[in-house]
């Protein structure tokens, strides 16, 4: 039953969505940013598989650069703001994920552990450059300088 329902939802979602001419269907919140090259229909059908694949790459293999499907980057574009201009969390039924998931009665359990809003903590998002004081490269340079000082002092 759930499968049939999910199928019907996908069928519904693949049609152009306008709340008024598709009475009762979820109105998918508008996104910002570049559209997916694969198209929305592909992501609607496959987002879970892509997320599953890339989470294993990230966690188990330590891949950080070539990751396309991550919740963190989903929310770069797929965020719904409330009246106060704050991003709504998964507790709010207007949240991007909830709009369709509520409709399909499929509960995502991602957000027991993952945040459901964009984060302003971007310190670790990009690869470190050697100029950053907390990069491994800069750290090793500091250790080297320290060692040189010590050996000079002992002479």
């Amino acid at each position: 039953m759930r499968l049939i329902l999910a199928f019907l939802v996908l069928l519904g979602l693949s049609l152009p969505l306008h709340a008024d001419d598709h009475e009762g269907l979820p109105a998918v919140p508008k996104a910002t940013g570049e559209p997916h090259p694969e198209g929305n229909e592909y992501w609607r059908k496959n987002h879970m598989t892509l997320l599953l694949h890339d989470r294993d790459l990230t966690l188990r293999e330590g891949e950080r650069e070539d990751i396309r499907a991550s919740l963190e980057s989903c929310f770069d574009c797929h965020t719904v703001k409330d009246e106060a201009g704050e991003a709504v969390t998964i507790e709010d039924e207007r949240h991007f994920c909830r709009v369709c998931h509520d409709y399909a009665a499929v509960k995502p359990d991602c957000f027991t552990c993952h945040r459901s809003t964009p984060s302003d903590n971007v310190a670790n998002r990009l690869m470190a450059t050697p100029e950053e004081p907390n990069s491994i490269a800069a750290y090793l340079e500091r250790l080297k300088a320290l060692e040189a000082d010590e050996s000079e002092a002992s002479q």
Partner: protein, 249 residues
């Protein structure tokens, strides 16, 4: 941007890991994954990350590493109906040792020791407790069932179970109710070329008691220090060969 809709299953596999294909017989191929040069951004089997903690440099009244870890990874303030000193997460703790005979007192941080032969991984029934190729031991919370066997198996009390709902976590460390967690050696930083938060904070405190580096590189400062000075592994009798070592304990 690559269009993933046009990629075959095989391409996606390839994009995920360096794949070498060897044809054994017509129609039978052997694929091997891995290889460290193929993708520099991946966890590297040629490395093993570790820490060397000098108890003489660690100030008894300092807990900069613990504070930094809490801020970085978002634990330590969970609250909820089950909150209390016994249930609160502790990825890193300051431990004070006192010699009964001499009265000498030392203090040092203890976190997951990133064992080479980790008992937590041995006992895990689901494969959630895992070790990366570079020696970092993690919990894959996607498949952890919260049985807590690993907590029992760990000789260092390094793991915690999350008892309450955690809303809007840090992007650095997804964590939530019902699963086990422990020090990740700041894997989210290390993978992007940064030092762990505790190491950074300890250096900033002026104590520089924690040395971070690659144990497999004989020329790294940590390897040279280990070669030159005496150090110990906690519970060395268990022969777990931890990646975290102590000096002057």
């Amino acid at each position: 941007m690559t269009n993933r809709a046009e990629m075959t299953r095989r391409d996606i596999l390839k994009s995920g890991a360096a794949v070498a294909t060897l044809t054994l017989a017509p129609g039978v191929t052997l694929m091997t994954f891995g290889g460290s040069e193929a993708n520099a951004a991946r966890a590297d089997a040629g490395k093993r990350w570790g820490l060397l903690i000098d108890a003489n440099k660690c100030a008894a009244d300092c807990s900069a590493c613990v504070t930094a870890c809490k801020t970085e990874n978002g634990w330590g303030n969970d609250g909820g109906e089950h909150s209390g000193p016994e249930t609160e997460s502790a990825w890193i703790r300051k431990v004070t040792l006192r010699d009964k005979h001499t009265g000498r007192q030392v203090s040092a941080p203890v976190m997951c020791q990133h064992c080479e032969s980790p008992p937590c991984v041995d006992v895990c029934p689901t494969g959630a407790s895992m070790q990366r190729v570079d020696g970092i031991v993690l919990v894959d919370k996607h498949i952890c069932i919260g049985c807590r066997y690993c907590m029992m198996a760990c000789p260092f009390k390094a793991r915690s179970f999350v008892h309450s709902d955690v809303p809007e976590q840090s992007v650095n460390a997804p964590r939530g109710k019902g699963v086990v967690e422990s020090c990740t050696l700041c894997v989210h930083r290390v993978d992007r070329g940064r030092i762990p938060a505790c190491v950074e904070a300890c250096e900033a405190s002026g104590n520089s008691a924690i040395l971070f580096g690659d144990l497999k590189d004989p020329e790294s400062p940590i390897s040279r220090a280990l070669k030159q000075y005496s150090s110990i592994a906690l519970r060395a009798d268990l022969e777990l060969n931890p990646g975290v070592r102590y000096q002057n304990l």
